[in-house]
């Protein structure tokens, strides 16, 4: 594999003492919150350029979904065809698989204009609280088809759990 080939990974890691998440959960939220992260030499809080577009699309397609956006407007531009979504914190009423379904819907919307052979790639992270109260972070770098397969598997697992 060439070093220029895009990497592909999916992981779920435990997050201990994440102040952002604790503050978020303590505010008894609903839906999800978008988090700006430090970027560049001066670590200024910034958002990936797809963040605003994704949030606007999500609100137009799911008017009931509550989404909190940060104050910062500073945007990161990457001259890559890939989609970079911001870190989001999921409230207790928002399931990770529901959030990923939303992301898949957004990618399908973006792919409407894709030409033959063009693949949508995405980078995303989401933090959430498990049923046993542990805070976890889901990180994904990969293509939309693999993400769809992950969502399908999650649904199946959930069905078996129920």
């Amino acid at each position: 594999m060439s070093i220029l080939e895009p990497r592909q990974f999916c992981e779920i890691v435990s997050v201990a003492d994440d102040k952002k998440f604790v503050d978020f959960i303590q505010s008894n939220p609903s839906g999800l919150a978008v988090i700006a992260e430090p970027y560049g030499d001066d670590d200024t809080l910034s958002l990936p350029s797809d963040a605003g577009d994704f949030v606007k699309w999500a609100k137009q397609n799911n008017p009931a979904l509550q989404i909190v956006m940060p104050e910062t407007k500073r945007q990161i531009l990457r001259q890559s065809v890939e989609t970079w979504l911001p870190l989001v914190l999921l409230a207790v009423d928002t399931d990770l698989s529901d959030y990923l379904k939303l992301v898949v819907g957004y990618l399908e919307y973006k792919l409407k204009s894709a030409l033959k052979g063009e693949v949508a790639r995405i980078h995303l992270s989401a933090e959430y609280k498990t049923k046993v109260g542990e805070v976890k972070r889901f990180n994904y770098d990969g293509d939309s088809e693999t993400l769809k397969a992950i969502v399908k598997k999650m649904d199946l697992n959930q069905f078996l759990d129920d």
Partner: protein
């Protein structure tokens, strides 16, 4: 049958454009670029007249007019693309090819106009070029300005979604107030494939596939609209350096190893091979 556009009026205009488009493609297929260029101008003039006569502010119709204009732009650039290829202006033609792709993406997003022949042909044509890596920058901006309302496109005050059509206007996001350029990367999947590395001279051997295609078209062996795509394969060819020796003799390559431990198995070498795939067809079929 799927309608090519959303409104009856635009569908009727599209049908009226079809003979003009066919005329353009006939001239192009004969490599008559002057006549094909004139046909492209006729297409634009016809559409401009229709547009002037339209007094409706129906947003769907205005969106359809936007699409029809892009369709005319596409056919015009398609002629320019092949002209540049046949003139041997391969570097320029790469940029034109990506201008054409941008138009095809818009047609695909906002209409059901049939473009599959062009999509297949041109995405394969892209593979005939030597470019595999590109430059890409990372930078931060203060905000993105909506090209329709002028507000921050990511703010709740702006109601427009990027790359959507609103009454015939495409909402774009213009980066405002560059804060910092933080990296320049070499990537295989850039937003803009016009940012190539390295830059080749038109006479470079790297353009051999596209040059060969140009020769086939110019000689009349493969008219432009007969060219369907490329088929890549690996072929085994006799190794011209190969010498059959006794297994324990020193290898012919000068490695000072025994032949059996060195090049005995290299009687054939694997070569990348490209077939240019063509099919005779009526020109009209490219449009349906």
């Amino acid at each position: 049958m799927t309608r090519p556009l959303h409104t009856d009026r635009a569908c009727a205009i599209f049908e009226s454009l079809r003979p003009l488009a066919q005329n353009l493609l006939h001239h192009l297929n004969e490599c008559n670029f002057s006549e094909a260029g004139s046909a492209a101008i006729s297409l634009k003039e016809f559409l401009e007249l229709e547009n002037k006569q339209n007094s409706s502010d129906d947003k769907e119709l205005l969106n359809d007019f936007f699409v029809l204009e892009r369709y005319c732009d596409f056919l015009t650039l398609y002629v320019i693309l092949w002209k540049r290829i046949l003139e041997g202006k391969f570097s320029d033609s790469w940029n034109t090819l990506h201008d054409v792709f941008d138009l095809l993406r818009l047609l695909k997003r906002f209409s059901n106009i049939e473009i599959s022949f062009f999509e297949q042909q041109l995405t394969d044509l892209e593979k005939a070029y030597p470019y595999r890596v590109f430059t890409s920058i990372g930078a931060t901006f203060d905000y993105y300005e909506c090209t329709i309302c002028g507000l921050d496109i990511n703010s709740p005050e702006c109601s427009h979604l990027r790359n959507e059509l609103y009454g015939g206007r495409l909402a774009g996001a213009k980066p405002m107030n560059l804060m910092e350029i933080d990296h320049l990367a070499i990537v295989s999947n850039p937003r803009d494939k016009r940012c190539v590395v390295p830059v080749y001279d038109d006479a470079d051997e790297a353009f051999k596939v596209v040059r060969y295609l140009a020769e086939l078209v110019t000689s009349g062996k493969v008219p432009i609209l007969y060219f369907e795509g490329l088929a890549f394969s690996i072929r085994k060819l006799p190794n011209p350096e190969y010498q059959k020796l006794g297994r324990n003799e020193p290898c012919f390559c000068g490695s000072e190893k025994k032949f059996k431990r060195c090049c005995e198995s290299k009687e054939y070498i694997e070569n990348e091979h490209v077939d240019i795939v063509g099919r005779a067809r009526p020109v009209e079929q490219a449009l349906v």
